[in-house]
Amino acid sequence: MPGLIGKKIGMTSVFSADGKNVPCTVIEAGPCVVTQVKKMDSDGYEAVQLAFDEKREKSTNKPEAGHFKKAGTSPKAKLVEFKEFEDEFNLGDIISVDIIEEDSFVDICGISKGKGFQGVVKRYGFSGVGGQTHGQQDRDRAPGSLGASSTPSRVFKGMRMAGRTGGERVKVDNLRVLKVIPESNLLLIKGSVPGAKGSYLIIEK
């Protein structure tokens, strides 16, 4: 899908035209630079590689520096490939927020906030074991049975248990675009978006 790379700035709320106080996320989206155009002949598929956010020259290694030099741009921190762009692009072209229309819907992909080692109640939405009365104790947030006894005499692979939670790629579909502010490259999305403030987001049309 065509799209661009952005950065989560934070959340606020605005009053909509019908007077409702709407929660919204502010995203700094683009401008993104085209750093590579992949073609069917040379790469086996068609895509456009976009780059976003400045990076220090000092922390850019030589292969990367060469890649950015070829596109005629300063080093960038985040590179993402997008497919199915309608227009043809050349190296060094700039794509900014105005490709996204107001009141349209976008899909947003980010890395969710890390939650550390969590139990099954938080991690998978289990309801814990039993009630809180009738002599029950210490089992409120327990996972319950892991399986049958002598057959199969083992726990099946992939059984949902406690462990590291969050910090994974999450995509949220059909988020409404409340406003696009091209002067300051801002995108206002209704509702929340995965990830911490300052984390990179992939915005797909």
Binding site: I9, G10, T12, S13, V14, F15, A17, G19, N21, C24, V26, E28, K179, I181, S184, L186, L188
Partner: protein, 116 residues
């Protein structure tokens, strides 16, 4: 933080200036009410108990006593339903949040006027 302000300002068009007021002041809030397709304005007059939040998120609580029942309403200051806010009286109070005012009735429930 600054970019959030930029985003908020994009929605600030047509927002009216609001007079300054604080706890202890008597205000009349002209509030638009939609009934089906008709729109009318209701006036809610009372004493400001507190002003909370800042920026677009600022809201204030107004208390009035009607039929011996205390009524408190919280208004977001930027709400498009607020037609206008009139400050009828400046009150002289020592606190920013006059919660004690809720317990006062009769002659005790009076606030001295602030002379400017």
């Amino acid at each position: 933080m600054d970019l959030i302000k930029v985003a908020q300002e994009a929605f600030n068009e047509g927002i009216k200036e609001v007079p300054e007021f604080g706890a202890g002041d008597t205000v009349s809030v002209h509030y638009k009410i939609k009934e089906g397709t008709k729109e009318r304005i209701q006036v809610f007059r009372g004493v400001v108990i507190q002003v909370k939040g800042h920026g677009n998120n600022k809201r204030f609580t107004v208390r009035k006593v009607s039929n011996n029942v205390g009524i408190e309403r919280i208004f977001p200051i930027r709400s498009p339903f607020i037609d206008k806010i009139e400050v009828n009286r400046k009150g002289k109070v020592r606190r920013a949040r006059i919660y004690y005012f809720r317990k006062l009735t009769g002659k005790k429930a009076r606030i001295k006027e602030k002379r400017v």
